[in-house]
Each structure stands twice: as C-alpha cells, then as structure tokens.
C-alpha cells in the first residue's frame, strides 16, 4: 500500500464534520456523495477524476493558486540529487561489468537518477497549461518548520541533560502552541507523560538513556 494515510482530500457532508485536505499530497482522492469515482483507471489506484473540489475548503483556508509551483522545485532537487550521487561515486573504483568495483553500483544508480531527473524535467516542460500543479506555500511550512526546529533543540538538549526535562518542554510546547490545548492540560500531560516514559524506558526496560538530571535528582 503505497500511501497508507492518504485518505486524501475529502469533503464530508455529515452535519457536524467538515474536513478537507488531510494528507492531500499523498493521495488525492475525491469522494463524492454519488461515489461514481472508480472506473477502469480505478484498477490502478488512480481514481482521481477531477481536480480537487475541496480547494476552497483546504484545511488552512488557503487559496491553491498562491505559492510556488512545486514541480520545477522537484525537478531541480532531482537534478541536484543525481549530480551529487554521480560526483560522490566517481572517486570509488568502478571496475568493469564482469568485475564490478565498489563504485560500480552507486554509479549505475547515479546515472539512473540522472535519467529520471531528465524525464521529470521533460514532463514538466510538456505539462498541459490547464494542469493545476501542486503548490508549496511558505505559510504551510511554518508550523512543521517550527516543529522541526523544536526537535533539533530537543535532541541537542537530550544529549546534555537527559531525557526528562527536554521531553517535558517539547510535549508542553507542542500541545500548547500546535494543539492549542490549555496550559493546565498541556503541563499535566507533559510532566506525567515524560516521567512515565522515562521511568518505563530508563528504569523498567533498562535502556541506558543519556544521564538524566531530573530523573536522577527525583529518584535519588
């Protein structure tokens, strides 16, 4: 199953629930009440029949037409990736087909990447003008970006002061700022959760976590 959570963009007409755009990038399904979606193409898992009708109700309320076209970005990344692999494989011994060296296989893969990058580029250039490309907006990356930074800080701190303190701060921050939970609930869950996990892994399962300031102070 190539895309497990790709429930895609779906609009629900049950009275109390309106959702759209969940995991839309992964699989773009449109579920219509008539459900007349699966046709012969459906056999291949490509039952996309119409451009997302949910554009206007995207969960972040954004307009799909804004933002940067994702396709040239993807092509550029592919070219860079292929180039990097080829360049890195060059210094290794290549050998011959009958006696392949260590660098032979990576080089084959680098060439394959280059070919695929070219095909992607060609597909982008030949794309029909009516196509509605995926767009990448800076705005939609703010929260995940902040989350990534918080995780970097988390790992740095974890190496310094152990598991418990950074985990409390991380969970608290995520629940309060990303989840919009109340301070009280966030703090409660963060402290309880982190302590339970720390005791479970460090003491019960015996995982040698980095020295934990808080835990060793509490369990002196």
């Amino acid at each position: 199953m190539p895309c497990e959570a790709g429930a895609g963009q779906l609009r629900v007409d049950a009275p109390s629930i309106v959702l759209a755009g969940h995991s839309g990038r992964c699989g773009r399904w449109s579920v219509r009440p008539e459900g007349d979606v699966v046709d012969a193409e459906g056999m291949t898992g490509r039952a996309v029949t119409d451009p997302p009708p949910t554009a206007a109700t995207d969960s972040d309320g954004g307009d799909r037409r804004r933002g940067v076209d994702a396709e040239p970005l993807a092509v550029a990344l592919q070219v860079v990736g292929a180039g990097v692999l080829v360049v890195l494989s060059l210094p290794m011994p290549q050998g011959s087909l009958s006696q392949p060296g260590a660098g032979f296989w990576p080089m084959c893969l680098g060439v394959a990447l280059a070919v695929l990058a070219l095909v992607s580029g060609a597909q982008w250039l030949m794309r029909s003008r009516t196509a509605e490309p995926d767009r990448v907006r800076l705005g939609e990356m703010l929260i995940p970006g902040a989350a990534i930074l918080s995780l970097v800080a988390y790992l740095v701190a974890l190496g310094e002061v152990g598991f418990t303190l950074p985990s409390i701060v991380l969970i608290l921050g995520w629940l309060r700022f990303f989840g919009k939970e109340t301070w009280r609930l966030s703090l409660l869950l963060a402290v309880l959760g982190a302590l339970v996990l720390a005791v479970l892994f460090d003491r019960v399962l015996g995982v040698p976590l980095p020295d934990d300031l808080l835990l060793s102070w509490m369990l002196r």
Partner: protein, 505 residues
C-alpha cells in the same frame, strides 16, 4: 511435514499465551489505528519496530500482521459511520457504506464488512497454505538473476501503483537504493560513502529510516494539515446482522472479493487499497444496475472490504517464500525479521517452520478475534476520534525517539530518525512518496548482491537476465509497466481536457 501437522505446529506457536497476547494487542492496535485518520498502519508499524526487537521473531511478525489486518477492519467503522476513511484502503468503503448509514443501514453495512473481511481472510489463509510451499519450492531453483529481476519488478510495481507520478516514485526508489549502498561494500569489503564515520560503517539503520519517513514525516505533516477529530456526535447502531436479502446480494461480492483480493495480495505492489479499488470496479461492472453503486449498494461494501483483508493476508506470501516484500508494510516486516537475524527467503518455511506456520495460525485466530470484537466495540472505537491529533503526535514523536535509541543506544540514530522525518515531510510536500524509497532501501542490498553475482557468473554479459526464462518474464513485465506508465499521463491529459470541456460545457 504434512499440512495438518504443520498447521498443528503453527497453532501450537500461536496459542502460546504470550503470542496470543501479541495477536490481541496487534489486532486491537490495528483497529485503533484504522479508526484514527492521520496515523496509518505503515506509520504505526514503523514506530513500533524497535519494540519488536525484544520479542521472539515469530511473536514480532504475529503482532505486526495483526496490526496490518486489524486496520483493515478498523478503517471500515469510520468510513461507514462518518464518511472518514481512517486509512487509504477503506476510502472505497465510504462510497456505498456511508450512503447505507445515511439510509439507517449502518448496522448491516458494518456487519457485512466484518463477515466479508473474515471470509476473505480465511480464503486468503487457505491460499497461503496452498501456494506458499509451492512457491518456496520453485524459488529454491532461483539464481541471482531471478532474484535481481524479482527485486526490480517489486520496485517497479510499487512505483506503478503509487498514487502520484510514476517517475517521481521511481526517483524515490533509486534514492532508496542509493541510501542502501552506504556502509561496507558487500563484495569487496571497502567502505562506501562513510567518510571515516564509524556510525555510517554499518550503513543507515533501516528502522530509523522507516520510522522517520513513515512516522515522523506524517506527524510533521499533520501538524499543518490536521486530520479530523470528532467533536460531539455519537455512533449508535442497531441491527448489525444483515438481513437475508442483504446476505444474498452480498454473497457473490464476498466470494469474488476473496479470490480477487487474495490474488492481488500476492503480486508485488499489491495491497489493501489496490485490491479494494479493483473489487469495487469489478462489482460495479458486473452489476445489473450499476447506478445503485454510490447510493448504498451492499455489494460495494462487501466486495472491497473482503478484498482488502484477503490481500493483506496473502501479501505475506512473497516475503515469506521469496524474501521479497511486495509493499511498504511488508518491507517493515522484512526489517523486523532482519533485526532478529532471520533472513526471509525460500528456506524459511523449512528452516523456521514455527515462523511461517505460526503466522498462518495467528492470522486465523486474529481474524476470529476481530470478527467477535469488531461489532460490539464500534461505539468505543468511535470515541477514539476524540483524541486530538497533536496530543497523539507529540507522544508518538517522543516514543519514536526513545524506541530508535533503545535499539543501539545511539544518539546518532535519533538524529537519523529526525533527518529522515524531515526528508519525508518535504517529499510529501513536493509530491514524492516515501513508500517506494523504503521498499527500495530494503531491497537494495538484495538487488546489488544478486546483480553483481549474476555479472560474475556470466562474465559481465547482461544477457543473463533475459536468457533465463523466469527472470526474462519478470523483467518483461517490469518493462511493460514502465512503458504503460509513460503512455498513461499522455492519455490522462486527453481525458482531463475532455473532462474540462464537459464541466465547462
């Protein structure tokens, strides 16, 4: 060993108290995950991989299998009651299942789905018992050329069946192959891409890569694109047992779904979503009055639900007999077995019968548990939707970090996990799928080794791949898929244009 004896051994394994517990934990977890949108079976299994390390190999895969087919049951509930597919393969169920619910027939929809799933699972088990030993015997004669061809076909199929661009999926797959080359070259023993780092000498850790690409990336993505959670509302269902006419209408669909799903599961790239779509298409085409579909036709629920469960069972066959995982979930099972120093392949059934037959028996038990638990617990599972996704995400990240650390007690793996998560997140944004990458990462060493062995055998003659009948057939199939993948976008473009005209006109 005869089938009965072997099955006896399997039951003995599966009925050991701790394995029974793992089946139960697996299927319950699977149902929970199936209900919750935003966390699919792949992400869950990936996050739980480190915890299987401490188990016996058969227990580990018994639990993972339980999660996998458990989600097939769980996804049905929210699809029918709320039109919310909890995971991809139950998207199809929303078409008719939700319509049935709106007509007050949620009970029979859920009932027939559970019965169908159970029947499908049992048919698939029979298929597994019949087919797997045959396939394993056949595979004993496979040389490196055949294994290389199988790996290529597996990767191609997964890319072909992906929901996005085939070219991008292939690109992701080759990146996966490239990532697998980091570490010591299996033939010459010289280090590749390690740059003096001891951490890299063993290569990238599969678990960290899989957890990052599937689990952490999903969590990051969901922070912005929030999956739904239930606010208010209660699922109340009456009359679960389908009426006689319901059963009559659904019988054919269940039989066809069982066979179709079992067949698709064995194919590389097959899996839940593909089989449920195929079954829906088949039922609709066969129906006397296709216009009933999408308006609450019970066959539209029974067929796909049966098929997706059947395929989730038979997809274990290629892994346990050939050592080739047919889809990303089975790639995770492969990873779990490798972690245990068990290499799946043609010899597995004979060398470790308790693993193969234990899984077979546990699937029977697990499906029974699901059939019995599914319907009474519907109300409870609906309440799960109250759990807010961010709370789930925050704890899932922390548990993932702990889990990956516990495998090798290495901070490096935690960074690798985060790195893979970030890469996976941006892949999603740019329209690349992580599935092919992870599958290729697993198959990478197999493919490279068998390719280079083939070259040594043939003295550098590439024709070895096409002069051997099996590998030739497999490669031709792969090439056909690629060709059709290139042609299809062109055709699709014409269809799009026709659609636009129809909409505007």
């Amino acid at each position: 060993m005869g089938v009965i004896e072997s099955l006896g051994l399997g039951l003995e394994t599966a009925l050991q108290p701790e394995n029974l517990l793992y089946v139960l934990v697996g299927v319950l977890l699977g149902m929970v995950v199936g209900v919750l949108p935003g966390l699919g079976p792949t992400a869950t299994i990936a996050i739980l991989l480190p915890f299987t390390y401490a188990m016996e190999p058969e227990s580990a895969i018994i639990m993972i299998a339980g999660i996998y087919y458990g989600t097939m049951y769980g996804g049905t509930i929210t699809s029918v009651l709320l039109n919310l597919p909890g995971e991809a393969s139950s998207v199809v169920t929303t078409f008719d299942g939700y319509q049935m619910a709106r007509q007050g027939r949620a009970g029979p929809a859920l009932g027939i789905a559970a019965i169908g799933s159970f029947v499908g699972g049992m048919v698939a088990v029979v298929g597994m018992i019949g087919l797997a030993p045959v396939l394993a015997r056949l595979a004993v004669g496979f040389g490196p050329a055949e294994f290389a061809a199988l790996a290529v076909l597996g990767i191609t199929m997964v890319c072909y069946l992906g929901t996005r661009s085939v070219v991008r999926s292939l690109f992701a797959a080759v990146v996966g192959l490239a990532l697998a080359t980091v570490g010591v070259d299996p033939v010459s023993g010289s280090p590749r891409f390690t740059y003096g780092s001891l951490n890299l000498l063993d290569g990238f850790d599969f678990v960290a890569i899989a957890m990052g690409l599937f689990g952490v990336s999903e969590i990051l993505y969901n922070l912005q694109h929030k999956p739904p959670s239930l606010v208010g509302g209660r699922g109340r269902i009456a009359g679960i047992w389908p009426s006689r006419s319901d059963r009559k209408e659904a019988r054919g669909a269940i039989v066809r779904g069982s066979l179709l799903g079992s067949a698709i599961g064995v194919l590389p790239g097959g899996g839940g979503m593909v089989s449920s779509l195929a079954s829906y298409a088949m039922e609709k085409r066969r129906a006397k009055d296709p216009s009933r579909f999408g308006r609450g036709a019970i066959e539209g629920v029974a067929g796909p639900e049966t098929a997706n469960n059947a395929s989730s069972v038979t997809s274990f066959i290629p892994l346990l007999t050939l050592g080739i995982p047919p889809n990303p979930v089975l790639a995770l099972v492969f990873g779990a077995l490798i972690l245990q120093n068990v290499t799946p392949g043609p010899g597995l059934i004979n060398e470790r019968p308790e693993i193969f037959w234990g899984v077979v028996a546990s699937i029977i038990i697990g499906n029974l548990i699901l059939l019995l638990l599914n319907l009474p617990l519907v109300g409870v599972f609906i309440q799960l939707l109250r759990v807010r996704p961010v709370i789930l995400g925050a704890f899932a990240v922390v548990v993932s970090m702990l889990g990956v650390f516990s495998l090798a007690n290495s901070l490096f793996d935690m960074w690798l996990l985060l790195g893979a998560g970030v890469v996976g997140y941006f892949m999603k944004l740019l329209g690349f799928e992580p599935g092919p990458l992870v599958l290729a990462f697993v198959l990478g060493p197999i493919l490279e080794r068998s390719f280079r062995q083939s070259m040594l055998i043939s003295g550098g003659d590439l024709s070895i791949f096409v002069t051997r009948p099996f590998s030739a057939a497999l490669l031709i199939l792969a090439v056909l898929l690629l060709v059709s993948a290139i042609i299809r976008p062109l055709r699709q473009r014409r269809l799009d244009r026709a659609d636009k005209v129809a909409v505007n006109g």
